[in-house]
Symmetry: C2
Subunit: 396 residues, 2 copies
C-alpha cells in the first residue's frame, strides 16, 4: 500500500469536454476521502502509529504471533488459551492444499508471474469449497482460516514446482511462519529466522483501506463471496505501486551491490534523472512508518547472523541520504527487502508473501463489510464528447 | 450495477467507539462521490439518458453491432469500414480458447458457480499469454480483444461441459452474438434471435463507474495488469446486488407462473413482507432506464415469435403495479430476464452473459485508467477501540 517518492505529485489531468481548462479536476485516487467506518485497524500518519483492534503494532510485534494476530483481526479481541489453541489447530488442519489446487499449481508454466498463479489458484479453490457461496458468519470465518492457511503453501508449492523440486508436506510441529520457510527452502528455519518471519507477517497483516483491502471490500459489497474478494485483493496487490515496491527496492540494492558505486552517488544520479526511489514515502505516514522500525532491526540482525552486513549497511546509507536530501522517510518496503532476501526468499516472491500475511486483514475486512453492507458505487465526471450523431458506415 | 427497490434506503450504521450516537456516519458506498474523470460513457439519471463516447444508446441499439460498439468504447470513435473489418476479424481469430483453458474448464466440478468458473479461467488465461504483464497501449488493446473474444466461449464451454454435451467449435460465418448462442445451444439462432442478443450485448457494454468497472480500475491503478482488472470485475459482478438481479427477477417470474396467483397479489404480498422486488429502481436513474425500453420490446417480440406471451404479459403487469403502487421504474434487469430466458439462456448464465458484454467496457476503463493513472486509496473512519494494553496469555 505504499506509494513512491514521486507518487504524491501525480495528478489526473484530462481536458474538459468543452475545451475550457478552468474547471478543477475532481478528487482523484480518493486521497483523504473517507469511504466507510471500520474497527479493524487505524493509522495515525502524523504520529507514525499503527494499531490493530486497539493494540499498538509495537506490542504485537514484541509479544504476539501471526496466529494470534489473525484471531485478533477476525474476532476483535485477543484469544484466551483455548481459543488460541483452536485457531492454531484450524490453521494447521487447513494448510494441506486440495488435490485440484495441486494439479493446477503443477500445470502452471514455470515462468508464470507468481502473483498471477496465486490469484488463479485462490479463485480455483472456491470451485471445490462447499462453503464458497455461503456468506453467513460461521462459513465466512471458516473460509478466512482456510484462505489464510493455504496462501503460503500455494506460494511455496509453486516455487518448488518452477524449480523442478519436489513439493513438501507441512510439518506438524512448525507454526505458520516456520512451516512456510520450510516448505519454500526445504530446510527448517532457525528459531530466530522463524520468529523474524513471524513478526514480518504480523507487521503486514492489515493497514486500513489500502488499495487491495479496498478492492476486496468493493468486490464483496455487491454481496459477492470471500473468494472473489480475496482474488480481487491479490490482483490489486500485484501492481508495482502496491505490493511491488519491496521487489523494486531489492533490485536496486542488488544493482548497487554489483556496480561498486557508492550508494549516495547512485541515488543522487537516480534523483537527477527523476527516477523513483522505491521504499520511501507514504501517502499516509508523514513520519517513520512504525513497521520500518522493526524491519530495520531484522535486516541488521540477519546480517549479523550471516556474518555479512553489506546489505544492511548499504540500506542504512541510502536511508540517511534520502532523509538528508529529500526529508523523506523509509516505509515498510525498504527494509523488508533486505530482510526477506536474507531469509532466503526469492525477490519475485516478496509480493506473494505480503499476500500470505495481508490475507488475514483482507478476510477480516470482508467479514466487516458483509456484516453491515452497502454497495460501493461511486460517480465519475464525464469529460468526453456529447450529443454525437450516429452516421452510417457508408458516410464515415 | 442495479440496486433494488430497497437498496436506496440502506445506511451503514455502526456505533461510534465512544458510545455516542450523535456522530454522523460518513458517506458510505461513495454514493454521489466523484472519483475520477472519464470519457467512456455518461448517464443522465434524471433524463434517463445513457451514451457511449457521445453516442446515444438508442442510436447504437438501432444501428450498431456489438463489435462496432466495442471498437467505439476502446478507441473513442466509430470505425471506418477497414477498421470494422479488422476488429471483427480479430475478435473471430481470438475466440478459440487456449488448450490450458479448455482443460481447466473441463476439470471444473459440474455444480460450480458459473461466475466462479469464469473468474478462475479468465485469471488462468493470463498464465499462457505472453502479453499478460505488458501495460503498453498496443498490448492492452490486443488483450482487450482477446478477453472480449474469449469470455463468451468460456461461458458456453462450461455450460456444455456441465451438461455432459460435446464442446463446439466457433462457426466462422457467425458474429460474436450469434456464435455464442450457437456454442451454447448447439443450434444456430434465427437472424432475429441473433440480432436481439447482439443488441442486448450493446446495451450492457458500459455504464459509468458501476461497482465491477470501479473494482477493475481500483485493481489496475496499482499498475497491476488487465487480467487482474477483469478478474476483479468478474468477482464483483458475481454479487447479487450487481449482476445477480436479473437472475432474481427470473426466479420470481417462474415462481409466479408456477403458483397461479395474480402478479399483482403476489407482488403486494411480497411488499407487505418487506421483500425486495428485483429489477426495479436504480441508484442513478430516476426515470426509465433507457436500456429497459429496448429489452421490453425484445421480451414482447420473442414471446410473439414463440407464440407464448405469458412471460411478457406477467412482466408488464408487475411493472404497471410497481409504477402505480411505489412510483418506481423497471431497470435493465427486469426485462432482460424474460428476454434471455426466451433466447434459451439458462437463468444461472444471466450474469456470465452480462460479463461477456461488459468486458468491452471494463477493458476500455482499464486502458483509460492506465493512460492517466493515479493509485485509488481511500481513507476509513476508525470507530473501534483505542489504546488497549496487550496482556499476556496468562493474564487473560
Amino acid at each position: 500500500m505504499t506509494g513512491t517518492s514521486s507518487s504524491s505529485k501525480e495528478q489526473a489531468r484530462s481536458p474538459s469536454a468543452d475545451g475550457s481548462s478552468a474547471k478543477p479536476a475532481p478528487a482523484t485516487g480518493l486521497e483523504g476521502v473517507v469511504v466507510a467506518q471500520t474497527s479493524i485497524s487505524t493509522i495515525d500518519g502524523s504520529a507514525g502509529k499503527l494499531s490493530y483492534r486497539g493494540y499498538d503494532i509495537h506490542d504485537l510485534a514484541e509479544h504476539s504471533t501471526f496466529e494470534e494476530t489473525a484471531f485478533l483481526l477476525w474476532e476483535g479481541r485477543l484469544p484466551d488459551r483455548g481459543e488460541l489453541e483452536a485457531v492454531r489447530r484450524e490453521l494447521r488442519e487447513q494448510r494441506a492444499l486440495p488435490p485440484e489446487a495441486v494439479a493446477l499449481l503443477e500445470s502452471a508454466p514455470r515462468q508464470s508471474n507468481p502473483m498471477a498463479v496465486l490469484r488463479t489458484i485462490t479463485s480455483a479453490i472456491a470451485l471445490t469449497d462447499p462453503d464458497a457461496d455461503d456468506n453467513a458468519q460461521p462459513a465466512l470465518r471458516r473460509k478466512a482460516v482456510r484462505l489464510t492457511a493455504q496462501l503460503g503453501p500455494i506460494v511455496a508449492g509453486f516455487h518448488r514446482h518452477r524449480q523442478g523440486a519436489a513439493r513438501l508436506e507441512p510439518r506438524e510441529h512448525l507454526d505458520y511462519a516456520g512451516n512456510f520457510l520450510y516448505l519454500l527452502n526445504g530446510r527448517e528455519p532457525t528459531p530466530e529466522e522463524a520468529r523474524i518471519f513471524d513478526v514480518c507477517l504480523i507487521l503486514h497483516a492489515d493497514h486500513g483501506f489500502n488499495a487491495s483491502t479496498f478492492s476486496a471490500r468493493v468486490t464483496v459489497a455487491t454481496l459477492s463471496d470471500i473468494y472473489s474478494g480475496v482474488t480481487s485483493a491479490l490482483g490489486t496487490l500485484k501492481g508495482s505501486l502496491h505490493g511491488g515496491a519491496n521487489e523494486a527496492v531489492m533490485k536496486m540494492l542488488l544493482e548497487l551491490q554489483g556496480s561498486g558505486e557508492s550508494p549516495e552517488d547512485a541515488i543522487r544520479r537516480r534523483l537527477e534523472r527523476k527516477e523513483k526511489i522505491s521504499g520511501f514515502g507514504h501517502r499516509v505516514y508523514k513520519t517513520e512508518d512504525p513497521r520500518a522500525t522493526h524491519l530495520r532491526r531484522f535486516s541488521e540482525e540477519l546480517g549479523s547472523q550471516r556474518g555479512d552486513g553489506t546489505l544492511f549497511e548499504m540500506s542504512r546509507r541510502i536511508e540517511a541520504f534520502m532523509r538528508a536530501e529529500k526529508d523523506i522517510y523509509s516505509n515498510v518496503d525498504f527494509y523488508s527487502a533486505s530482510t526477506y532476501y536474507q531469509l532466503g526468499i526469492p525477490t519475485d516472491l516478496f509480493t506473494p508473501i505480503f499476500a500470505m500475511s495481508r490475507v488475514a486483514g483482507w478476510t477480516a475486512h470482508v467479514m466487516e463489510q458483509l456484516a453491515n453492507n452497502r454497495l460501493i458505487r461511486p460517480r465519475s465526471e464525464y469529460v468526453g464528447e456529447r450529443n454525437l450523431r450516429y452516421v452510417s458506415l457508408e458516410q464515415r
